[in-house]
């Protein structure tokens, strides 16, 4: 090991990411955990106890004794939360599957396009990010409303006589999620597909595999890391999504993001909202842990 300035820089390089994680991840997380263990109160901030370091260690110890799992207990008692979680996971899961179906052909076409087109196609895939997310979701209202673009177009070509009620339903939420998260699915899929050695499918064809067999036996299984990465990138934020169900969903669209919102802003029950958030985090960590395990179990990839 080198001593002096070199090692100082080295140490800083190692420590900096940890500082970053501590400041931007661990600290906010611990605050949320702490609030989830507090009680709601009519105060500013709206929970108790509040730790004031200036009041000394005694007050801190007294505060710690006040912490309890009552918010979590409330969560378990109210069936609304359970239904919201299940509904969120269901909508997120369905939306992830639909996004995968929409993204795969796109990513496949991108990966098989002439090499000089590919950077442009990648740019196009992320082009929606240039516009505000909120505006793009609002635009879907204009498309999906009963007298919106879609219904007028379908009525115009005589396909329907009565407008389709899509807006303010779970279907609209699904459409919104698929649309919004498509790039997060396309990019990892594209990268997994573009990385594959084209000689692999040629070898399969040479060994008697027809095009469909080539796809299902070679291309698809080898794109699994991309499928997993894309699915997690869609599923995890979709499960906690608030804006899309709020704008496109109906009053009966139950998602945990909306429940969180109403706990925070309508009920001003911060401990309940924080507990709900922590439980959601725990639920989402399970698939992540599974992913990590499959990833380390089989080092798959094209050369």
């Amino acid at each position: 090991m080198s001593a002096g300035r070199g090692s100082l820089v080295e140490r800083a390089a190692i420590v900096l990411p940890f500082v970053w994680l501590a400041v931007f991840f661990a600290a906010p997380f611990l605050i949320v955990v702490k609030i989830s263990l507090s009680q709601a109160a009519l105060a500013q901030p709206p929970y108790a106890p509040v730790f004031e370091l200036s009041e000394g260690l005694g007050a801190l110890r007294a505060g710690l004794r006040e912490l309890s799992f009552s918010a979590y207990a409330a969560l378990a008692e109210d069936a609304l939360y359970l239904r919201a979680y299940l509904s969120s996971l269901w909508i997120a899961g369905l939306a992830t599957a639909l996004t995968l179906c929409a993204a795969y052909p796109l990513a496949f076409a991108m990966a098989r396009a002439p090499a000089h087109w590919q950077p442009h196609l990648v740019m196009l895939a992320i082009a929606p990010f240039w516009t505000s997310f909120l505006i793009r979701v609002y635009a879907w209202i204009a498309i999906l409303r009963d007298e919106g673009l879609l219904n007028r177009a379908l009525a115009g070509i005589g396909f329907i006589t009565e407008p389709l009620h899509i807006f303010a339903t779970d279907t609209a939420v699904l459409i919104g999620i698929v649309y919004s998260y498509l790039p997060f699915m396309v990019l990892p899929l594209y990268s997994a597909l573009a990385r594959q050695d084209p000689a692999l499918t040629e070898a399969a064809a040479d060994l008697g595999a027809k095009p469909l067999a080539c796809f299902w036996r070679i291309t698809f299984p080898l794109s699994r890391p991309g499928i997993l990465a894309g699915s997690l990138l869609v599923f995890i934020p979709a499960a906690g999504e608030f804006v899309i169900p709020d704008l496109l969903g109906g009053s009966d669209t139950l998602m945990i993001g909306k429940v969180l919102w109403s706990e925070f802003f309508d009920n001003r029950d911060w401990p309940a909202a924080c507990a709900a958030a922590i439980v959601l985090l725990a639920l989402l960590l399970i698939p992540l842990a599974l992913w990590e395990r499959t990833r380390s179990a089989e080092p798959v990839g094209g050369r």
């Binding site: 040479d206 060994l207 089989e298």
Partner: protein, 363 residues
């Protein structure tokens, strides 16, 4: 017996470039043909056309008498061993070898037997359950060979199969490939840029240059009677003396060396030449005979020069001799002959061409 593969005036263009330019070539049942040429000469393109990857712009490819124009790769009776080996990374060695058999609808029992037989053929018994990333380069080369041979193709195409191996392993594998080919009697077409590899393995070599076949023949023919300057230079070491044709009659040409007005050499030449035409005299290094000067003027047919460099390469000994004209001749001597001569840098020697050792090139 009709040839297994008939390539008839095949041309394949990429844009303005004809990667394969009006090539005609036949491959016989059971033969070991090497397609030899520098990179970019079109040899890989030609091989891929036979496998069905890409279509010829003109000309026909027949396999077993059947025109392959509308036959997709997965229905052709040929298999290919890829340069990268292209083993399926998500399958075991066994599944890789069985892949083509399953596509052909072979029963599980037959498949197991064939896979075992193939593993034995390439001396990889016990490796069936491994994944490709657990194999060394040499092992993955063997599995690729087993996989390509499992379907018992009539022709095996090998695309630079040994390129990924180190030199020692490459030399061993050359003999193994030859043994496998002999044992199965399958026709092999080897694509390579390595003339040593082609010479060591093939029964017949087709030398390609710029999309066209420059010469076909046995390794000996290609080596001893190169048809052109390109072939002479590409295959093995060569001394090329610039010369002018003096006369040509009955397949025998005489040519005068540039810079040595009295040195006229007579040798066989495959194509007719006109007197006064520029040509080259090609002499392999081992056909250059070196003698020490005994103070006397050089004998007729010998040129005097000075040893400028020597190299001992194990079995053979290389000497570079600078002639009066400034031309540097490479001579290869056997170890004992070199020991007897005891050449060192600066020695004055006479160089001559051994009997039957020179060719006058047509182009």
């Amino acid at each position: 017996m009709p040839p297994l593969v008939e390539i008839q005036e095949v041309t394949r263009r990429f844009g303005a470039l004809a990667a394969v330019d009006n090539v005609s070539l036949e491959i016989a049942e059971g033969e070991f043909l090497a397609l030899l040429g520098p990179s970019g000469c079109g040899k890989t393109t030609l091989m891929r056309l036979i496998a069905g990857f890409g279509a010829a712009d003109s000309g026909r490819i027949l396999i077993g008498g059947r025109d392959m124009a509308d036959v997709p790769p997965y229905e052709r009776p040929v298999n290919m061993m890829f340069q990268s080996h292209a083993l399926f990374p998500h399958m075991s060695v066994e599944s890789n070898i069985a892949f083509g058999l399953a596509r052909a609808g072979m029963s599980k029992g037959d498949m197991g037997r064939r896979v075992a037989e193939m593993l034995r053929l390439v001396q990889m018994e016990g490796f069936g359950a491994r994944r490709p990333h657990q194999l060394s380069g040499g092992q993955s080369q063997r599995v690729a060979l087993a996989r390509a041979l499992a379907r018992r193709p009539r022709l095996l195409l090998l695309d630079e199969p040994l390129a990924a191996l180190d030199r020692k392993l490459r030399e061993e594998t050359q003999f193994e490939l030859k043994a496998v080919q002999r044992e199965l009697g399958t026709a092999f077409m080897l694509v390579t840029h390595d003339q040593g590899e082609a010479m060591a393995m093939a029964g017949r070599i087709a030398v390609m240059r710029a999309g066209a076949i420059a010469q076909t023949g046995s390794p000996r023919e290609i080596y001893e009677s190169p048809a052109s300057r390109f072939v002479a230079e590409f295959v093995g070491g060569i001394n090329l003396f610039e010369a002018v044709v003096v006369s040509f009659a009955g397949g025998i040409a005489s040519a005068r060396l540039d810079g040595a007005s009295d040195f006229v050499f007579t040798a066989r030449c495959s194509s007719p030449l006109a007197a006064g035409q520029k040509t080259a005299l090609a002499v392999r290094p081992e056909s250059i005979v070196i003698t020490r000067t005994g103070g006397a003027p050089p004998a007729p047919g010998a040129l005097r020069g000075e040893v400028v460099d020597t190299a001992f390469l194990g079995g053979i000994f290389h000497a570079r001799v600078k002639l009066a004209s400034g031309f540097v001749v490479l001579s290869a001597l056997s170890g004992p002959a070199a020991a007897e001569l005891g050449l060192t840098r600066g020695d004055s020697v006479d160089a001559s061409i051994g009997p039957g050792g020179g060719r006058i090139l047509a182009s």
